[in-house]
């Protein structure tokens, strides 16, 4: 079988491999190299070493984006996971209409980031104009909390579904036994349900972590970095460096490499965390 398969290997794998080389391998390699070059159109690149990285880390916009992204990620990961876990608890109590509620809560997840951004721009600006008489472009903290609300609206339903699956896997005998032993609802939750859904927590934690950290479309549509790039997250800042500032393409690529390294570290941590859980079980 191996021999026959090897003969047919090109028919099976060549289209994917070619596309993968063109869309990923070559651009990735070029990206690493170009982060060490000064260039405008790729073809006229000259090697300059780590200058771009030095410029990137001396760039106020980049540092601001880094801090903004980190703060946004922490707040959104906590809020999304707390709310979605609470919702999941309510949805596993056997209440009538659970399916309809689940359908409603999950729906925003399917709407694309650009569309979501403009929906919430209307609503948040409407509320802000009424309450403080200014709009999202007035203060960076409005944009920050606007993005948090938007992200919660989009992601709660998704994470809720994963938590529901986890909670439903907890054997009912365990809960029953705890009740007979006189455990309170809180004790049952803390000592049985939460430890039993740890793997769901890991999944949701890292999904929200990477989704929040890599956010672009929602950021572009809701605030576009206003006021004065103060609400630009990393992905948007990299985009603006590439396409908004001539001569800074190399710096943009250096920022992109840094961005990639941070995302890679987060993903590898996840891998290690999931692996170690698997061993325990």
């Amino acid at each position: 079988m191996q021999k026959a398969l090897k003969k047919y290997f090109p028919i099976f794998a060549l289209p994917t491999i070619l596309a993968f080389i063109v869309a990923f391998i070559v651009p990735f390699g070029m990206g690493i190299y170009l982060s060490l070059c000064k260039f405008r159109t790729v073809t006229n690149a000259t090697f300059i070493g780590f200058d771009n990285y030095a410029k990137a880390f001396a760039n106020k916009d980049f540092l601001n984006a880094l801090v903004f992204t980190a703060e946004f990620t922490v707040v959104s990961v906590i809020t999304i996971n707390v709310f979605s876990f609470l919702l999941a608890l309510l949805l596993t109590k056997g209440i009538k209409g659970t399916n309809i509620f689940r359908t409603v809560f999950f729906m925003p997840n399917l709407i694309g980031g650009i569309v979501l951004g403009y929906i919430w721009q209307l609503i948040i600006n409407g509320i802000l104009l009424k309450v403080v008489g200014a709009d999202l472009t007035y203060n960076a903290s409005y944009g920050f909390w606007g993005l948090i609300v938007l992200m919660n609206w989009q992601q709660i339903g998704y994470m809720m579904i994963i938590y529901v699956a986890g909670i439903q896997n907890v054997p009912p005998e365990l809960i029953e036994a705890a009740k007979i032993d006189g455990a309170s609802t809180w004790q049952t939750l803390k000592s049985i349900t939460i430890p039993m859904v740890m793997s769901s927590f890991t999944i949701c934690l890292f999904l929200t972590l990477t989704n929040s950290f890599k956010l672009f479309d929602q950021n572009l549509a809701l605030t576009a970095g206003l006021p004065a790039r103060k609400t630009s997250m990393l992905a948007l800042d990299i985009y603006n460096t590439f396409y908004g500032r001539t001569g800074w393409e190399g710096v943009g690529q250096a920022k992109a490499v840094v961005f990639f390294l941070i995302v890679a570290v987060i993903s590898l941590t996840q891998l290690v965390a999931t692996r170690s859980k698997e061993v325990e079980n």
Partner: protein, 292 residues
């Protein structure tokens, strides 16, 4: 037997049940939350029937005789951004990309899982590696390569999507191929099937549940994707997200009426799709999350 099973079911239901008062309280809070979840879409919908002059100032009031403009925003907006062409391009690119991704990554995953060599395992790890690389890392150089190879058109972008989407899809298919027994494939080959026949008559039908998951995950990605098609196609042939963003334009004021109407038109197909294949979507998304 049946009676006994029913008794067990009842017991199970009871152990999960909460008191009636609690159930009512939970139901009411869930209902309130549902209304809050749907409110944003409803607000956009009512504003899409109001004159553009009244939307920013009074977004929370229902259309009145003074502010109601009927379908004007829809006709204006659709003409302005060419909504129906955009819908066509989005549909064209999404359907073909998803089809191509599902077919070719399934084929690739099967051979690189079944052929045991250093080369195939290196390929596998490259695909896994690609999953963790964010788009910004390759966006500039990928756009350059695509332009150079004349892939900057609605057909070429399908090839790009196959390349950039192959990481997750090959990874997920490989995981499933590993779990199916090799004996059936070997039997088919001994009976004289060539690898192509074996794949399409034996392997692919077994991959169907994973294929549905992968199709849904990729469809959601491609349909909603903004940056990749914008960089590759520009604004000459717009997908729906590009068309919506295009409405905002440069620094001029936005036509809020057209914006509201186009947001509604962008959401409607998604809701229809969601309500018709809800079961698969939720299952697919969960499976994708757990494996990815």
């Amino acid at each position: 037997m049946a009676k006994k099973k029913k008794a067990v079911d009842n017991e199970l239901a009871e152990s999960k049940q909460v008191s009636t008062v609690q159930a009512v309280i939970i139901w009411i809070s869930l209902a309130v939350l549902s209304v809050l979840f749907l409110a944003p879409i409803f607000i956009v919908l009512i504003n899409s029937f109001k004159s553009k002059l009244y939307i920013s100032d009074e977004p929370f009031s229902l259309p009145s005789a003074k502010t109601f403009v009927g379908l004007l925003n829809y006709t204006d907006g659709a003409v302005k951004i060419g909504f129906f062409q955009s819908f066509g391009w989005s549909l064209f690119i999404t359907v073909l990309s998803v089809g191509v991704i599902v077919l070719f990554t399934a084929m690739t995953a099967w051979v690189i899982t079944r052929i045991k060599s250093k080369f195939t395992s290196m390929l596998y790890y490259l695909f896994v590696f690609a999953m963790i690389v964010p788009f910004q890392m390759v966006m500039f150089t990928m756009t350059f390569v695509a332009n150079r190879l004349h892939l900057d058109n609605p057909i070429g972008i399908i090839f790009i999507y196959l390349g950039f989407g192959s990481g997750l899809s090959v990874f997920m298919f490989s995981g499933f191929v590993k779990s199916i027994p090799i004996a059936m494939e070997e039997a088919a080959m001994i009976d004289g099937c060539n690898p192509l026949q074996t794949f399409f008559s034996i392997v692919f039908p077994m991959l169907k549940p994973t294929a549905i998951t992968i199709a849904i995950l990729n469809a959601m990605w491609v349909w909603n994707d903004y940056l990749l098609p914008y960089l590759i196609l520009g604004t000459e042939r717009k997908t729906i997200p590009i068309a919506i963003q295009y409405l905002r334009g440069g620094y001029g004021s936005v036509d809020m009426g057209a914006m509201m109407a186009m947001l509604v038109l962008a959401i409607v197909p998604i809701i229809i799709f969601y309500l018709t294949c809800q079961k698969y979507i939720i299952k697919g998304v969960v499976a994708g999350a757990v494996k990815g």
